[in-house]
């Protein structure tokens, strides 16, 4: 190989190496690919601890009998009562600093937002205790047996979502940006003036992306397992399989986005336009099922929804690849259709 190409390797390898070198020499790209998902998972773990750990915050409106009510509630484990005046109570309710505001009268009055599950829970708990204090006799007391299911914390659920988001962001940004950069620098034009095969250039972009994929997926998962104690139920091979298919899908999308655009401004706008809806709708931070039924077909058709759902099924439930075949099929369509469209409309000059 050396003799026939004068010291150079096969063009596909040289193109892939060139792309990898550029990526490695770009500190910002490394930050977004590797550091950002970890920072994000730590931040989210701190901001949203498991809901079971959080005490029920109850406000008691100041008044002549507030003292008694406070005493009753303070004795309840897992309840954090505080005395508030009228204005302060309303503000605390609005800001979510308290889940429920008790007006101590006979009978007491509860102020809360029934739309918040935490508030409904607080109402039940407080009501039961206040009735007990007022003399209600309990027919029996059940035995509570707390059970913690591994992988049921929010952070366990979040990390596969962040991994999926990383597969999307790095894939789309990396490929679209590198193509537009080569186009604005007239490097694309210079390369198509040589005997370089266009298909090899495009393939090299995707190949370089695949090399980067492994550490990019592994790092947040290793961090999750060893630092946050997240369990991984599925096989490494299945995780890798979903990641590769996902990366191919977003490679196709990135290629299509970068296929004609001539400026960085335009490509940034386009990438954001495509990625932002998926950040919100695809269930990275909260379950996609929370969206109304009317938009569910749309939400379910998004490639990020498919990647995140498949990753969660594999990582948290130990699903084999066959169980996520539907998601993989959808991703394959997302990879192939934009890729073919990109090939047709690609602007090399």
């Amino acid at each position: 190989m050396r003799s026939s190409r004068g010291g150079a390797l096969h063009p596909l390898i040289e193109l892939t190496l060139a792309r990898l070198r550029e990526l490695i020499r770009e500190p910002e790209a490394l930050f977004w690919a590797f550091v950002f998902p970890i920072v994000m998972s730590v931040a989210m773990a701190v901001a949203f601890p498991s809901s079971g750990d959080r005490p029920v915050a109850v406000g008691v409106l100041a008044g002549p009998t507030a003292e008694t009510t406070m005493r009753v509630l303070a004795a309840v484990p897992g309840v954090d009562p505080r005395t508030l005046d009228e204005a302060g109570g309303l503000r605390a309710l609005r800001e979510g600093a308290v889940d429920l505001l008790v007006v101590p009268s006979d009978p007491p009055e509860y102020r809360f937002d029934p739309g918040r599950p935490e508030s409904r829970l607080a109402r039940l708990l407080v009501d039961e205790r206040l009735k007990g204090a007022a003399g209600r006799v309990e027919p029996w007391t059940a035995r509570d047996q707390p059970m913690t299911v591994p992988g049921s914390r929010y952070v366990d659920w979040l990390i596969p979502g962040l991994v999926g988001m990383g597969i999307m962001s790095t894939g789309v940004w990396g490929i679209a940006f590198s193509i537009v950069q080569a186009r604005t620098r007239k490097l694309l034009k210079r390369m198509v003036a040589s005997p370089m095969r266009k298909s090899q250039y495009l393939l090299a972009q995707v190949l370089a992306r695949m090399v980067f994929l492994v550490p990019e997926v592994a790092l947040p998962l290793v961090f999750g397992v060893y630092v946050l104690g997240m369990p991984i139920q599925g096989s490494v091979l299945a995780i890798l399989g979903v990641s590769v298919v996902g990366a191919l899908a977003f490679g196709g999308v990135g290629l299509l986005i970068g296929s004609r655009v001539k400026t960085f401004e335009a490509v940034s706008g386009l990438v954001n336009l495509v990625l932002l809806p998926m950040w919100i709708a695809s269930g990275v931070f909260f379950a996609a099922s929370k969206f109304p039924n009317a938009v569910q077909p749309l939400v379910q058709a998004l490639p990020l929804t498919a990647v995140v759902d498949a990753l969660r099924a594999v990582i948290l439930e130990g699903a084999p690849l066959s169980a996520v075949a539907g998601e993989l099929m959808l991703l394959a369509v997302w990879g192939v259709v934009p890729f073919l469209m990109a090939l047709r409309i690609f602007r090399w000059r």
Binding site: G6, R25, K186
Partner: protein, 245 residues
Amino acid sequence: MLTLTALVKQFGANRAVDGLSLSVGKGEVFGLLGPNGAGKTTTSEILEGLLQPDAGDVEVLGLRWASHERALRERLGIQLQETQLADKLSVEETLRLFRSFYAHGREVSALLGLVELEGKRKSWVSQLSGGQKQRLSVACALAGAPDLLFLDEPTTGLDPQSRRQLWGVLERFRADGGTILLTTHSMDEAEALCNRVAIVDRGKVIAQGSPQDLIASLGAPKVVTTQGTLEDVFMTLTGRHLREE
């Protein structure tokens, strides 16, 4: 080596090339001269197979773009004026990349020597001076040991040393039997390098011949300067010997 007949290329209302004809023989260094916007770059891009002409006939190395694109790409060296090579690749990596596109050609190490960039082998492109970048760009065009080399304003914006250094590279290519078509708006570059030039204006060839014949045909009283030109003085004082910036 290259024949153009009645070439026309229109961009909207602007007729960039308007019935241009010329031919270049083997071993020639042919200069396309003209002011900016004269149609030089459009003409060379049509010759390079990067633009489709609206009318006219183009034959390069006895072949046509429509039927022999791959064979032509293997045998041509093309340097474009506006190309910026990747900043974060080294000189050697850039050359290896371009060399890999060609089935046959020079060794990467030989290319480095040819353009006197051995000392910069490991430097990133972003660390090179303008002249070094331009020589690297020419080296990329020479990677496939082309029969015909296209250069678009290769020395624009370079200091005199870098210009001479690049001219040296081109002279060596020609001495090895290569043919060059270059566009320039620098008359002294054309005088120094070209054995034949065509002056292009508004998409047409308005004069053609060797630089000496064209000067003679002007009939202008040419000042004979036995003591050389100002550039020679500058070169003598600042070092005629090629040096790495």
